[in-house]
Symmetry: C2
Subunit: 338 residues, 2 copies
């Protein structure tokens, strides 16, 4: 029991592991090829740094037998999703990797390969990290940092009565994908075609953070956050931070074809869809006059932004209504560990 | 199994936990009181950010029954120690906290109290974080960031033949403290007075990072790193990064009275002292002409810097010699998890 701290020169087995698997990700000169104790970043002039940390834990946020490359990608992408919602351009990340006995070279090779692919795709290189043994499950904590022009980080606070509420992509896929991953028989009950089932599971396995929307959000959104704990609960948080209420038409919430199929077969799934989480879409409040421009810019980046409701004066939470104008009530509004 | 991501507004039990225990640590305006998805930091003009992450794992880096306040402090201090060695002034940190079932309010209250004390002492406020359930042990990953005037981060690379090697404080206490924590009977074999045993255990429990030395290191050191994996192995890393050799007089390595007592009783402990790690002291290469000034500045801050050897031309590692000029050989030079 002692503390092997930091990525360092190739001396120990730990150092060899780092040199072999992670040095190729450290493409920024300020990472010093991972042979120093820390990294140095010269912030672009006139920019703020946006800072975020999120961890994922084996058996909690992913299945231990998920493909290691997608585990790595999920770990990075849940952080990238927050940077996107805040309007920030990714700049880099730090990695803490806790590994149990029995993780072999093949696992590490695939993990590093997935992480490298995303670091390249999202322009988010590795700045440094730490590897440790754990008697627990694989645990990955990432701290990501991005940049915004000074003072322009998109906040949760800022939604104003009269704004429209928009949400990117589609909601509920990952939560349904998780149910399907646990109970493959559900595919038949939900009358899913095989590609529909695969779509849902893949949305659980591998979030698609909306980093291409960062610039448009910075220009147009009054407030934004990523949808990770469930649309209902996350909108509640946005309302609380903004001291505003939201009135949402549940029927306007964008669903994938697969989710629509499942919901038709089992209407009670609406609660899973709206509160299950793991969406990694973006919900934003946008002045009504700016919605069309935001949608056009998102569309140019290949992403839809759908209007689902309005910011109104009222108690600081989101109310969801059916087509018939009846309020939807949920047993729990969002996922919580505690 | 779903992902509750980020510190957020007080809605769920997780949010209440964050609001109650961690919001008081988020004193920087860019932390937005932990009610946003991310934090914003405006870097001081003309400064680089120094970035570091280190995690500690229950049963690996600390005992699960260690006092929660000291666990929190250790988690932060192992990161602060790296910032110190790099010459950086602490600016803030992000926290990922993975908690097993059974962690109660008393534990969390003490944990947050310890963390708050250090955040205040070291001027290093909480910028954001993530709390998760884990089926494994308590796991704490911290990403710390500091600032240095642009281009002045003290590197591992940079030691030059002719430099003196200096080390702060005393070496070996924590490694002996760990042995003593595991085997209290060793106190008698080592002929330790009770305060000596307590000193060693406290040095294991609670590192004393040398952040007061950051400015002096930036002005005078050619290269520096913190001693966390053991003096021998860490000096090897500094030599490798600097493409230089070091010749160290083992008898000059500064020891506490307690370590000296133990070593007199059991001379084989020299290997534990020099390779055991967890010291969180600073080893640096310093031009000979600057040593006295560095020592004076350290002394003014209440810390000793002891000359233990020289940077020389030769194979890129550190050689340790006895008083009689014989090389000391070690079974392992530093701790490695892998």
């Amino acid at each position: 029991m002692a503390a092997p701290k930091g990525f360092s020169a190739p001396v120990s087995a730990e150092d060899r592991l780092i040199a072999r698997y992670f040095r190729p990700l450290a493409t920024h000169p300020g990472a010093f090829g991972l042979i120093d104790d820390a990294a140095a970043l010269t912030p672009p002039a006139g920019c703020d740094l946006v800072l975020k940390t999120d961890a994922i834990v084996g058996g909690v946020h992913f299945f231990p037998d998920d493909p290691p490359d997608t585990i790595a990608q999920k770990a990075l992408r849940v952080n990238l999703s927050d940077l996107a919602a805040k309007g920030a351009q990714p700049a880099g990340f730090l990695l803490s990797l806790m590994l149990p006995e029995g993780i072999d070279d093949g696992w590490l090779e695939a993990f590093a390969r997935g992480l490298k692919a995303d670091a390249d795709t999202y322009g988010c290189p590795l700045f440094g990290g730490d590897t440790d043994r754990t008697p627990g499950p694989v645990t990955i904590s990432i701290a990501a940092f991005g940049t915004v022009p000074q003072g322009t980080m998109v906040r949760r606070a800022g939604a104003r009565a009269g704004d429209k509420i928009v949400v990117s992509g589609s909601i509920g896929d990952a939560a349904l994908g998780l149910l399907l991953r646990r109970d493959p028989g559900a595919a038949e009950r939900w009358r899913l075609a095989p590609p529909e089932g695969e779509h849902l599971v893949s949305r659980y396995l591998l979030p698609q953070p909306r980093n291409e929307l960062a610039g448009a959000l910075r220009r147009h959104a009054s407030a934004a956050m990523d949808v990770s704990d469930g649309l209902v609960g996350d909108l509640n948080k946005l309302c609380a931070a903004s001291d505003a209420a939201a009135r949402i038409e549940a029927a306007h919430v964008p669903l994938s074809d697969a989710a629509r199929t499942a919901l038709a077969a089992e209407p009670a799934l609406i609660e899973t869809i709206l509160t299950g989480g793991d969406d990694y879409e973006i919900v934003a409040a946008v002045p009504a006059r700016a919605v069309a421009e935001l949608q056009a810019q998102a569309s140019a980046a290949g992403v839809t932004f759908t209007v689902i409701g309005d910011v109104v004066v009222g108690p600081t939470h989101a109310e969801f209504f059916t087509r018939e104008g009846k309020p939807l009530l949920f047993k729990t509004t969002s996922f919580s560990h505690f």
